[in-house]
Amino acid sequence: MNATADSIDDGGNEPAENYLNCSNTIASWAFTLDHKRIGVMYLVGICIALLLGGLFAMAIRLQLWMPEGMLFDEQMYNEIFTLHGAIMVFLFIIPSVPATFGNFFLPIMLGAKDVAFPRMNLASFYLWVFGTIFFVAAMLFTGLDTGWTFYTPYSAETSKAPVVAATMGVFILGFSSIFTGLNFVVTVNTMRPPGMTWFRMPLFLWSIYATGVIQLLATPVLGITVLLLGAEAVFHIGIFDPRYGGDPVLYQHFFWFYSHPAVYIMILPGMGIISELLPVYCRKPIFGYKFIALSSIAIALLGFLVWGHHMFVSSESTIAAVIFSGLTFSVSIPSGIKVFNWLATMYKGNIHMNTGMCYVMAFMFLFTIGGLTGLHLGTLATDVPLHDTYFVVAHFHYVMMGGALIAFLAGIFHWWPKMFGKMYNEFWGQVSAMLVFIGFNLTFFPQFYLGTLGMPRRYASYEGREGFPISEALVDQFTHLHRVSTGGAFVLATGLVIAAAVLLAALLWGRRAPRNPWGGATLEWTCTSPPIHSNFIDTPSVGDPYFYENMEWDPELGGFKTLPPAKPIETSEHQPAGSE
């Protein structure tokens, strides 16, 4: 550590020019190679996707207010839940954290000027846009009603045009995802600055790295799967479609070989954000650095061994089900390690309950529930009745939404001052976190109970058909629970709208952000807010990313300033475990 007090400017005199205002033409955005601008464009894009997916989600919740369905007929409902799922998974969650925060902060955290392949990075964004266009096309064709999983033979026999459009969209989005992952892996591998060994990287980078590995190894299989599915739908090649001698269960193997690891593409970056934020807000070095870092890699690799647990009742053979169940439990260990290490980080800290920290706590609560209910589903005998019911719906929303989306929100509140140089209203930020947390639990906790009672997923109504009504007591219970859920969804939506409003208001009326409002020790807090076009004026020197003792709150700056280190970091006890 060769940083001295005078070499660190804590933001007294910020340069007037930054990456946002250094050029203003549309072309300077559309053809930018700057990872920060690409990250911001991604942010705008995925927020639109989130809004769209969210509107469909509200439509679903409203529909289920009445047992006979309140708004739509069955066909329309099927299309809506399909679009909700497909948009949320392919357009929102998978690119959410890596493509925005990964793009924006990965090079900065490495002290680099850009990612390894800036043009590929831009290409990845435009592929995302084209993929989105295909999805819009699928919507315009009307009739994409296969569910986001595109199970054969249903997807191969009905509504060909939208299915082909959507699968081609998925194919293109897959490339976008591969390019992003590839860029990050190469950047982390080859562009770490002198002094930043593997075990001195911020944990966010570890999780992005692990995510990149999954994106590289799993996404191509999705590519070939949708390609073969498209060929099946158009030419009837007989690989997946039983009408032509194919095997629908084979399709499920193909699909889940990608889509299970994809779950970790969604959640790992979220875990990375939590590992990054928690020590900052607790003012304590992260506990068990090495274990958290390696558990990311372990999750990434073990995630490839468990895809068969989506198929326990899909007539997978008994032996395969048993093997996959056994392997499934192995994933719970590294996830547990992370949670326990986070807890240990809080111990004896000095916890700042900022908006970011509120979301982190919400994440820990929701992710714990999501993870623990995974045990019910991983256990073979209990999975059988729960499979394809609302229990599963609740479980994966707790993990994907309670995990990935909440972590995304935590990240956005944490890094917003850095990205746009404006502070937001702390009070309303915390209100939004509260509402999101309460609304989320109200929406999804009842769904666990719905699932155990037997409510199957993807039902447009739950009164049964003529002559075969579902028993009255059950319909009553379903109705009550669905209504709590729908009510909760409105609370949740309100929370999200407030969060968006807080952030947008900050852009307009927010106070100017200091360099380091939260006292983070990773490199992004040493550059200006917002960063200049080339990130750093001088190559920054690398220190311990979780060493906070040399920081002090400066009320004049409204942020933290860095003091000369009390003692050289190399001999400090607060060094990450890995460097020993």
Binding site: D145, C282, S314, S315, I351, L375, H376, V384, P385
Partner: protein, 396 residues
């Protein structure tokens, strides 16, 4: 609305898990095992949840930023702790795996004395085939008798799910899948399709009726195996039972996303997609049932109509349906002669007769009978000696 529905639900909510009744009523031998395992996992989860979230809350309140509070030093890693919180959960999940595995093997191993009931799933119905040849869309069984369901699908993936028995298995086209249960309580239970299968997925439910005694069950079986004498009445029953009703009305209106009304079918000339016309006669109805994609009338999406092969609708039943559709036609006049004829086993003859009458009236008399005979020879293997009577009438 809030007072009516939300409030009671909210008040009830905490009581539900406390009551320990996560699942509904357990009515099979397997269900109790599943419930026990589920409860065990629940307790385990509750323990960890309280541990984690409890510690989180304690830390949150104890170490929350306030005046004079400062972070204190504590070790930043501890291999001992890491080992503890890796090994203990590993042991616990290993236990869960073993228990789940055992339960699963039981679920997948039907007893040797199981009673086989065939299941054919199609859009959007389950049809149950009983060993004596009876078919019904309700699943009936007897208390204490293990039942094995031999499942096949006529079109897409379905999944037969009986919450009360905690059992579920996908129904996959092109192969068999199996599940079994042994009911412990008489009663009527819900049965759902749990795998998304298209438009009416949410209406693909049925009932499971568990009879107290074998005699009761046998009586039901005998009853269901005897169709009504009047073909029109039988046709009307089939209209509901085979799922026609979901897409086809009988009052001349077109259901949204569905097919043409049955009232508009018989004795009219219809425009087809891709040009050409077809006359609504027996052949047309038979074709529409067996090969629905072959003649699609303008204004309808034929793709939604599944094919009904003979395993789903027997030829006799087709006759009944035709009789029913015919009776709906506005200019239907009950024919006194045909009614007794359909009651005999030789319904095929009836169709032939009718086609003959029909062809005399239609503009294309040449074509129709020919199509008919091709149809019949194609579809009918010779291995039905007991039904030879009907062959006489139509072998060229």
């Amino acid at each position: 609305m809030f007072a009516n529905h939300l409030l009671p639900a909210l008040i009830n909510l905490p009581a539900l898990p406390l009551a320990g009744f996560w699942f509904g009523e357990a009515a099979s031998t397997g269900a109790q095992d599943v419930d026990q395992l589920f409860a065990l996992i629940n307790w385990m989860c509750l323990f960890f949840f309280v541990l984690i979230i409890g510690m989180m809350c304690v830390f949150l309140f104890k170490y929350m930023k306030r005046d004079g509070h400062k972070e204190e030093w504590s070790p930043s890693h501890s291999n001992m702790l890491e080992i503890v919180w890796s090994v203990i959960p590993t042991l616990l999940v290993a236990l869960l795996f073993v228990l789940g595995f055992k339960g699963f093997i039981d679920m997948r191993t039907p007893p040797a004395n199981a009673y086989d009931i065939g299941v054919t799933a199609y859009k959007w119905r389950f049809q149950f085939d009983y060993p004596n040849g009876a078919q019904d869309e309700e699943l009936h069984a007897v208390v204490g008798q293990p039942v094995r369901l031999v499942q096949q699908s006529n079109d897409v993936l379905h999944s037969l799910y009986i919450p009360a028995f905690r059992t579920k298995m996908d129904v996959v086209p092109g192969r068999y899948t199996y599940q079994w249960f042994e009911a412990t309580k008489a009663g009527t239970y819900d049965l759902f399709c749990a795998e998304y299968c298209g438009k009416d997925h949410s209406n693909m439910n049925s009932n499971v009726v568990i009879h107290e005694t074998q005699a009761e069950f046998d009586a039901w079986l005998a009853k269901i195996n005897t169709p009504p004498d009047n073909p029109i009445e039988w046709g009307e029953q089939l209209y509901t039972r085979k799922g026609c009703k979901q897409c086809h009305s009988t009052d001349g209106t077109a259901r949204p996303g569905g097919g043409p009304s049955f009232q508009e079918t018989y004795g009219k000339t219809h425009q087809l997609i891709g040009g050409g016309t077809v006359v609504g006669n027996e052949n047309y109805i038979l074709d529409s049932l067996r090969k629905p994609q072959s003649q699609i009338r303008t204004g309808y999406k034929g793709i939604t109509m599944p094919a009904f092969p003979r395993s789903l609708v027997k030829d006799k039943e087709v006759d009944a349906l035709i009789a029913f559709i015919k009776s709906l036609s506005p200019d239907y006049v009950p024919e006194v002669e045909t009614v007794p004829e359909v009651e005999t086993p030789e319904e095929e003859g009836t169709i032939q007769d009718e086609v003959a009458t029909e062809s005399a009236e239609e503009p294309e008399p040449e074509e129709e009978p020919e199509v008919e005979s091709v149809e019949k020879t194609d579809e009918m293997p010779d291995e039905e000696p007991e039904e030879s009577a009907k062959e006489n009438g139509e072998t060229p």
